[in-house]
Symmetry: C2
Subunit: 200 residues, 2 copies
Amino acid sequence: MSKLLDDAIGELSRLPGIGRRTALRLAMHMLRMEQEDVARMTAAISRFRNEIKYCKHCNNLSDTDICDICSDPSRDKSVVCVVEQVGDVLSIENTRQYNGLYHVLGGVISPMQGIAPSDLKIDLLLDNIASGGIREVILAISTTVEGETTLFYLTRRLERFPDLKVTTIARGIGFGDEIEYADELTIAHALHNRMPVNRQ
Amino acid sequence: MSKLLDDAIGELSRLPGIGRRTALRLAMHMLRMEQEDVARMTAAISRFRNEIKYCKHCNNLSDTDICDICSDPSRDKSVVCVVEQVGDVLSIENTRQYNGLYHVLGGVISPMQGIAPSDLKIDLLLDNIASGGIREVILAISTTVEGETTLFYLTRRLERFPDLKVTTIARGIGFGDEIEYADELTIAHALHNRMPVNRQ
């Protein structure tokens, strides 16, 4: 077998969710791509891996020491939305409904996976709040067991700031979800937190 | 948003089956990989794209002008297994049941996708057979409509060699398949080509 092909398949199949069969399919696709397009792809990957930084203020990925969002004068610096990971920042930004800052924890507490509170960027968050100017912290954490544990832990740590408003994003039935397939806990929670319907 | 991250996501999501969400997941995984491991991956991709060749004899991917299989003196050069694509060579090699040569067509005839017989490496196959020494051609082509069309076309083109044995791989119920879910054509074919059962 071609060593060049074998190496490409071997390296690509180290990525999550990519087995040897998918790696072969990707390699064959790259053969059909222009040489310069493949070169641009590998260059983008290399630059990303070697040059990306973590924002010293919010732990988001950034090209500079302080990220675009933290250094944007038009953002409301009195509100901080705490998220698990970088992808959550992108998801919330895509809604165009939020104008505050973020804080990226870098995961959730998970004894099973050996992730302790000290592995997350929690102290940086507390330092930022202690520096003053933050009025509200929105905890936008997954409703998994690990997420709820993290939420509970953070809530406890934030008790040192009695004047701080601490909220979580609403739990309920997602848009497009069928109640038939929602679990009982979600339905019970959604019922309990029912909202008045706007009438004409 | 970080331009480095945006570029990496943009380039990765050009690959088939990889959307922006998967691209982000891959990018985040690369951040957790060692820098040198990512460098080895991009280098393997670049080398593969820039240095890989097609075997001048069988059209398989190769590091050299003639591939490992065609130049292996222990392989039986009197039998040629005709396959659609490089992945099929790997699949058949993995069975360790075949010791002949291959011929990679590079696809199947598909008027829908604009793939004509002239787009496939058919003339090279006929030239190889005309050069002599080939006793049998095994057509290992998919049982799709396009595959059957290609099979029919190849069979016609091979009529010029009346002494050549032309076979196709057996059609039937695959191992692990349930008859309940097999289509009628496959069942009818499998019934018609039934095999005697070995009895003690």
